[in-house]
Each structure stands twice: as structure tokens, then as C-alpha cells.
């Protein structure tokens, strides 16, 4: 499984990339593989507030809807509009093309609460 070492991971299968006080968020390869063909992505708007562990959007595959749970708290400053017309990017490029939002962190120490690649991998192995 592809798990970039420079990312942090949440128990709800999101990845978080540290970009100097802001973070970029998406879902992991494991998550997209579990969901199957993604056909719809619903995201918040620029200016919305994310609250840790609260739903901030959803990803729909052919079969099911999955909520996206905020891995951090903060204000949305960028949204990947491309996912509206090309939800399949989540399957094709979960770590690059299919980033979902960029959030300005309320508190940068939140990142320490997230898992590193090894810990996340261990968690997914236990889930399977």
C-alpha cells in the first residue's frame, strides 16, 4: 500500500499534509480502495469552519455514502473544485490530484495527535 512518509494520517482514513500552518487534506489509498469507484464528492466551501471529528463532507461510491470526518479544526481556505466534475480522481490519484481542502489550523499542535505512516499502516492491517 502506498503511504507517503511525509503525511500524517487519521483513524478515519484521511491524510493530512503540513504546509506551514496550513494543511492539505484528502483520503488515503486504503480508503478509496475500500470504497470502490467514487462517483460523487461533496465538500465544504471556502470560509467554512472544520471541527475536529465532525463530518465536513462526503464521498459516494456506486454503492455507498461515506462521511468525511475532520482530522483537524480550522478554517477552509481552498477547496478542490476539480473533484466536482472528476470524482474518479479520488481513485486515480488519492494523494495528489484528489486533495480535498486546505485548512488554516486553529492550533498547529493538532498534527501531533495524528498517526505517522507506520502507525496508520498497522491500524489498517488490524482492520482487514
Amino acid at each position: 500500500m502506498n503511504l507517503p512518509k511525509d503525511l500524517r494520517y487519521s483513524k478515519e482514513h484521511e491524510w493530512v499534509k503540513d504546509e506551514d500552518g496550513k494543511v492539505r487534506i484528502g483520503i488515503t489509498e486504503f480508503a478509496q480502495d475500500e470504497l470502490g469507484d467514487i462517483v460523487f464528492v461533496e465538500l465544504p466551501e471556502v470560509g467554512d469552519e472544520l471541527e475536529l471529528d465532525e463530518p465536513f463532507g462526503s464521498v459516494e461510491s456506486v454503492k455507498t455514502v461515506s462521511e468525511l470526518y475532520a482530522p483537524v479544526s480550522g478554517k477552509v481556505v481552498e477547496v478542490n473544485e476539480e473533484l466536482e466534475d472528476s470524482p474518479e480522481l479520488v481513485n486515480e490519484s488519492p494523494y495528489e490530484g484528489a486533495w480535498m481542502v486546505v485548512v488554516e489550523l486553529d492550533d498547529s499542535s493538532q498534527l501531533e495527535e495524528l498517526m505517522d505512516a507506520d502507525a496508520y499502516q498497522k491500524m489498517t492491517e488490524e482492520e482487514e
Binding site: G36, D37, V39, F40, S58, E60, V62, K63, V65, E84
Partner: protein, 367 residues
């Protein structure tokens, strides 16, 4: 997953990339290569499905025709040996206990192919009403079942048998088809649950792995793929084929579901539910199942509320993004007064109320 039931094909799913889920107590593959890809392959080429979980109930004996006439809504006396018929078994209120195919194997010898999750319920219901001169047996464990569906289905299957498959017409079957290198005789019917041409094959559980492999190999040049439950659902949905537990249930009648063609209220036998269904047919049902297309962005799903003027008027029975049409489509059970083509309704998609419009069904018809 140890407590889940498995079909005889369970050991080979992994080999083909199958991802299994719990489907009504069965460990079945939801997908192999991917739902959308499998869907398109079935529409354009051919797909092979393991449907061995389906239940089979044998009804035999000198009074079996009279018995079935009383139990089901369609007219069983109209089918000849070698013919299959789609029918409902209803309760007194006209609600559907199950929808299934009846195969007439011979005089006084019928095979009912029922929804897996309903097998026990159907069997008990039949036993409860059993009359003299009829035997009812649950023979599900004796049969495995494959479905080969798609425009290339006949071409592929013909490579494996001397039986001229062209002679098996729609809703007909041959119960002595032999396949090269496969032990025993099989039942092959030209039926299916995808809206495409194709076959369903009933065979002994011990032979099904061999036939599965042989069909996939024979269909390689045509581009065959194994198909899971995910695409089976999107295929049947587009083709307007009802799914028990969503579009049909003990609380939904076949008349409401728009399937009155299989309810023969003019047959002489007083079948169970006849009175209620006759009244619905004559007066018109108060609710109807309609198809709709989302106008706003969002995907309708089973169980979502349907609203009109901010009031809940019904619910979505099935919904998905149609892989063939690329549209977000659904079916809903709503009061008949709103059930006209072009009528706008609202669908409650989680926190959002989204616009939709009623359109004709089936959404897809093969050319």
C-alpha cells in the same frame, strides 16, 4: 466472516480479485475489477455472475398446478414444459412475500427460483398452505447457479456445448444441456437480471467451479469479466427490474410497483391476495412506484424521503448514479396523484433538499 454462508464458488473469488461483503448472511463478491467497469463490460460484452445463493424450491405431485395457482399471482396453467414464468407470491393484503421465477420441468414438476434471503420464509409459507397431492422441498443446497449476461453471452456459451443455444428462446429453458468437460446435466434458461440477453445456468454444486473457469476462459477473446453484486444491482436498476426488500416488500403490492402484468386477476383460481389486488387494479392503487432523475447535484439512495411542498410524501426505493447514462437516478413510492411524468419532487439527500423530476422507466432498454 466465519458465520456467513458461502457458495461453492467462494474459494475462487480471491483468484479473480473478488472483494466479499455480507449480503443477507452470505459472503458474496460485491466487485471484482470494479463496479463501473463490470457494469460496462456486461452491457457491451459479457459478464459472469455467481448467483448460487439463490434459493430453489421444488413443488411436485398430482395437485401441484392447482396448488401453485392458489399460491401465486401469475397464471401457472399457461406455461408449458420448458418454460419459465415471473410471478409474485402475495399475502392476503396483496403485499409481496416474494417475487420469483417458476420453471415447469415437467407435468406436476416445478422449480421455484427465489430470493436467497426469502428462501426459508417462502418455504414455510408454502408448507403452511400445502394441500394433499403436493410435495414441497427446499432443494437450494443441490443447486449452484451462474448467470452469463451480455450481448456476447450466447457466442461464448456456444463454444462449450453441442446444444444449439439459439433454440432456447426468451423465458424458455433446456434441462439437459451438457458442457464439454463438465460432469452432469444442467438447466440453461434464457433469463437474467441485467436487461441484456443472456443465460442462467443451474448445475450441481460440485461442477460449478469447473464451469465458472471454462466460461471465463472461453470468453477471453470477447472480453468477458466476472461481475459482483454491485454491478448486478446497477444493471438491474437501469433495466427497471425490481429488487425485493427495496422496490417490493410485504408492504408494497405488485400493482403499486407497476408490475400488474404478472398479476392475473382474471384467472379462475382464488389465489391469495386476489381480492386486494383486484380492487387495486380496478380502482387504481393509492401509491405508485415512479422513476426520477435528479435535477440538483446529489445521488438518491434507498430510504431517503421524498417531499412535495416541504411535506414527506414517500421514500426512495432504489437509487444510484447510472453507469450507462451517467445520471443520478432513482425510483420512489409516492401517492398516485403526484405520479406523472414531468412532475417535480424533492429528495432529502441527508441534510439537503434537492430537486428531481419524474421520468419514464425503464431507464435503459437494450437496442
Amino acid at each position: 466472516m466465519s458465520e456467513l454462508k458461502q457458495t461453492p464458488l467462494y474459494p475462487v473469488y480471491k483468484e479473480y480479485g473478488g472483494k466479499t461483503i455480507d449480503f443477507g448472511g452470505w459472503a458474496l463478491p460485491v466487485q471484482f475489477a470494479g463496479i463501473k467497469e463490470e457494469h460496462h463490460t456486461t452491457r457491451e460484452k459479457a459478464g459472469l455472475f455467481d448467483v448460487s445463493h439463490m434459493g430453489e424450491i421444488a413443488v411436485k405431485g398430482e395437485n401441484s398446478e392447482d396448488f401453485l395457482q392458489k399460491m401465486v399471482t401469475n397464471n401457472v396453467s399457461k406455461i408449458k414444459n420448458g418454460q419459465a414464468q415471473y410471478t409474485f407470491m402475495c399475502n392476503e393484503q396483496g403485499g409481496v412475500i416474494d417475487d420469483f421465477l417458476i420453471y415447469k420441468l415437467d407435468e406436476n414438476d416445478y422449480l421455484l427460483v427465489v430470493n436467497a434471503a426469502n428462501t426459508e420464509k417462502d418455504f414455510n409459507w408454502l408448507k403452511q398452505h400445502q394441500i394433499n397431492g403436493v410435495e414441497v422441498d427446499n432443494v437450494s443446497h443441490e443447486y449452484a447457479q451462474l448467470a452469463l449476461q451480455g450481448p456476447k453471452a450466447e457466442q461464448i456459451l456456444q463454444k462449450l456445448t453441442e446444444t444449439n443455444l439459439k433454440e432456447i428462446k426468451f423465458f424458455r429453458f433446456d434441462d439437459s444441456v451438457e458442457f464439454h468437460g463438465i460432469d452432469g446435466k444442467t438447466i440453461v434458461s434464457r433469463t437474467g437480471y441485467t436487461g441484456e440477453d443472456g443465460f442462467e445456468i443451474y448445475l450441481p454444486t460440485t461442477s460449478v467451479i469447473d464451469l465458472w473457469k471454462a466460461i471465463l476462459e472461453a470468453g477471453q477473446e470477447e472480453g468477458i469479466q466476472p461481475v459482483g453484486l454491485g454491478a448486478r444491482d446497477t444493471l438491474r436498476f437501469e433495466a427497471g427490474l425490481a429488487l425485493y426488500g427495496q422496490d417490493l416488500s410485504e408492504e408494497i403490492s405488485p400493482i403499486e410497483a407497476g408490475l400488474g402484468f404478472a398479476v392475473k386477476t382474471d384467472k379462475e383460481t382464488d389465489f391469495i391476495g386476489k381480492e386486494a389486488l383486484t380492487e387495486q387494479k380496478n380502482k387504481g392503487a393509492s401509491r405508485k412506484l415512479v422513476g426520477f432523475e435528479m435535477l440538483d447535484k446529489g445521488i438518491p439512495r434507498h430510504g431517503y424521503d421524498v417531499l412535495k411542498n416541504e411535506e414527506t410524501i414517500g421514500h426512495v426505493t432504489s437509487g444510484t448514479q447510472s453507469p450507462t447514462l451517467g445520471k443520478n437516478l432513482g425510483t420512489a413510492l409516492i401517492p398516485s396523484e403526484f405520479a406523472h411524468e414531468g412532475e417535480e419532487i424533492d429528495i432529502q439527500v441527508r441534510k439537503k433538499t434537492l430537486k428531481a423530476k419524474i421520468i419514464p422507466t425503464p431507464f435503459y432498454k437494450r437496442k
